[in-house]
């Protein structure tokens, strides 16, 4: 074992760059994914059947196919379409399809949106009927009931499942290393492996980074649950 190689300044820098890319990808895809998921969840629980079917089919396909293929499809696949080829030299936003970071970000956002939308839709459907009836009795409109009663409670109840999704997403960002010229933590480890031929040291260091990041995320969610789900906790006295 030659652990000192990992701690050489240029290699530490490689891992640091990797951590920045991984966290950047994670938080931006979670942000975009959350907005999309909210819209999709509203469509899934909404009154308009065609929209329900379309979004339902979307989440089914996203959840039924490997993320790696989704990444390949966006990074390698879309470039094949002439419609995009005609635009990606000068027409915004299509110019971004040449950037690996954007392609990975798009794939991850669409993926996490599919999973999160189903969780949130499930929580919305399971909202206590009494809460909705009470809101209606106050004369709130459909929109008001959604905004003031159903969504705040459904989003809180999604929190435990969402923390799993966030940890899974952190691990999924390792697939970004399958896109050439993306330097995330896994790609940094692969580069050190191929430069020094030290697979154990390189990948165990990466694993440790992911493990620490997972624990931090789990800790943050535990605090958030304590705060937002306090009213559902069993009584302590």
């Amino acid at each position: 074992m030659k652990w000192h190689v990992i701690f050489e300044p240029q290699n530490l820098e490689l891992y640091a760059t990797g951590i920045l890319t991984t966290l950047g990808l994670l938080f931006s895809s979670l942000g975009i994914g959350a907005v999309l998921a909210l819209l999709f969840a509203l469509a899934l629980t909404g009154p308009w059947a065609p929209l329900r079917w379309i979004v339902g089919a979307y989440t089914y396909v996203i959840r039924g196919t490997p993320l790696l293929i989704q990444v390949y499809m966006i990074y390698y696949g879309l470039g094949q379409l002439e419609w995009i080829q005609a635009r990606w030299d000068d027409v915004w936003p299509w110019t971004h399809f040449k950037e690996p970071f954007f392609c990975a970000l798009l794939a991850f956002s669409l993926n996490t949106a599919g999973y999160t939308a189903e969780m949130l839709a499930g929580a919305i459907r399971e909202t206590n009927a009494g809460e909705i009836e009470a809101a209606q009795a106050f004369g709130m409109s459909r929109f008001q009931v959604m905004l003031r009663v159903v969504l705040p409670s459904a989003m809180r109840r999604t929190l435990p499942a969402y923390s799993n999704e966030v940890v899974m997403m952190l691990q999924s960002t390792s697939l970004a290393s399958a896109v050439p010229s993306m330097l995330d933590v896994t790609a940094a480890a692969s580069r050190i492996y191929s430069d020094y031929y030290l697979p154990f040291e390189a990948y165990i260091a990466a694993a440790a980074i992911y493990l620490v990041a997972s624990f931090c995320l789990i800790g943050v969610f535990r605090l958030a649950e304590k705060h937002f789900l306090a009213y559902l906790a069993p009584r302590k006295h």
Partner: protein
Amino acid sequence: MQSSYYTAILQGSVLTVGVSLCALLVSIVLGLLGAAAKLSGRPVLVSIASSYTTVIRGVPDLVVMLLVFYGGTIGINHLLELSGSKATIDINPFLAGVLTLGFIYGAYMTETFRGAILSIPKGQMEAAWAFGMGRTQTFLRITAPQMVRYALPGFTNNWLVLIKSTALVSLIGLKEMTYLAKQASAATRSPFAFFLFTAGLFLLYTTVSLYALKKLNARYSLGTKRGQLS
């Protein structure tokens, strides 16, 4: 000439199914061992099983796979060198894929099986012991058949995730669907169609699995009463 690539991908799907089923078998065995260790109450076994599930579930599948594949090759060859042999061994990507996927999903299965065993009313096992059944008999006759029902929902989730993870084995060089699709798209410059085709095959595989497991779940839930909210 494009059609030959599609046939190749279809043939690759056999390998995908093979890897996933073998890995499932490994993960079930590891999951049962892990659950038994966690429920044994012996501090050493409990801590080994707990660190197994925590570490594996906190590290990306891909990193574990690369570690086992590249690290395993060097480790085995190093051992061979130490024992004085001149031979070198290349780890077969199929075996590496099966073992790593099995090892990873064994951790998830451990948690699923542990929860399922805990869900069985304690009286069932106590009744079996009162009849003088041993540990193995109790497990085979009482625990296992009832466990299936509680474990199936979690098992279904793990299985679907496992199927999708087999795409990762393409990154260590196993020539399954994803690998062949990538090769075909590089050769023909029409990647979209090939990836779409592969995604369709994966979707078919997950849909069929979901249907079969739903049937199985119905079979194992026969005669159970479900509470009805008025």
